[in-house]
Symmetry: C2
Subunit: 212 residues, 2 copies
């Protein structure tokens, strides 16, 4: 919870230096984004308030709005930042289907260690189903991209005859995304009853013949 917004003194970037790649402003923005992620994760965007974000970060509401001009802008920045971090996990341009599938299980295992992020995406993706939601376009695009990546991965596996009989790359991509999303809901409701990575692995074993 505490996100260390307390350090008021910037290390090397003194008053004189107009420059400085690690200006204090950037640190403050980062701590605001951390707080906003937690707030939006718990109940979604519409139910989350700037007041809660401000409280968490130890600042007033106008203080937040000095760095992000509106609540919607703040949400967009949160999503953008998570995408940057997630990109390290699955390089989008892999053509090795086997590696991609293994990466999915790693991702599921990693997600289990960051419940806040899982909560954020689970809540938001359901909320953003409404066409008038500020993150609707983001999620539509996100699912398209994800589906494309998995489609390539399963197509590669099909070429190498590693897909089980009856499975198609398209169907496998859709089903895998659905499985990951659905497991997250059950996991968020009761984290003791379910191992997301393990369940996903069993699913992928039924879908492919690779040894995951």
């Amino acid at each position: 919870m505490p996100t260390a917004a307390d350090s008021k003194v910037g290390p090397g970037s003194g008053r004189g230096g107009p420059r400085g790649r690690y200006a204090k402003s950037e640190e403050i923005r980062a701590s605001i984004l951390d707080a906003a992620l937690e707030v939006f994760a718990q109940g979604g965007f519409r139910a989350g308030s700037l007041r809660l974000v401000a409280e968490r970060v130890g600042m007033s509401e106008p203080g937040i709005l000095h760095h992000f001009s509106s609540k919607t802008t703040l949400l967009e920045a949160v999503l953008e930042r998570r995408d940057q971090l997630a990109q390290q996990f699955i390089p989008p341009k892999t053509v090795d289907g086997e590696a991609s599938v293994r990466g999915l299980i790693d991702l599921a295992r990693h997600n289990a260690s960051t419940p806040g992020v899982v909560e954020l995406y689970c809540t938001l993706s359901a909320e953003a189903t409404s066409p008038d939601h500020p993150a609707h376009a983001y999620f539509v695009h996100r699912y398209e991209v994800t589906r494309g990546i998995l489609l390539d991965a399963f197509a590669d596996l099909e070429r190498r005859d590693l897909l089980r009989e009856g499975a198609t790359p398209s169907g496998a991509a859709t089903a895998t995304i659905a499985m990951m999303d659905g497991l997250q809901i059950q996991w968020l409701l009761d984290r003791t009853v379910l191992d997301m990575a393990e369940e996903l692995r069993r699913f992928l074993r039924g879908l492919t013949t690779i040894d995951v």
Copy 2:
């Protein structure tokens, strides 16, 4: 995504009126519940407002609150009513696993004809992941019940040697629920890209050897 049912209250139970099974009050309550379903479906409970419900039903906000003492009470009544209707679809006490699995596909097909209900459960189940949400206990219980029903169904199939190798009743129950939930999210985002019933059937074919 009505997948299970439990309900304690019958339609006309407990009303003070000495006579009149079809009192006008009951009709009004029903029309309020219809409107509330649509409002809560679009963006969840927290984002939905009594004002919108009142607008839809052609009444003032206090008019609504005369029939349901609070917004939370109204939500509970909506969920209770949906459970009553869903109960007709899958009789909870079936021991025939094959019939239950076929019932799931019928249910998915039926759901595709009532997008509002799918939206309601999809949005609410994500939102109610938070322990302080008014419907949290409801959804925890609902998932327990659903899981129990599917567990019995797949256990029956296992006894009759109709589960594929590597599948367990417990894992199959969890995975099937996850698949249904996950398909709904993708379907709500873009209803043209996905046939929920068909995808579910393909999934169940990979899980069992029955001819669904």
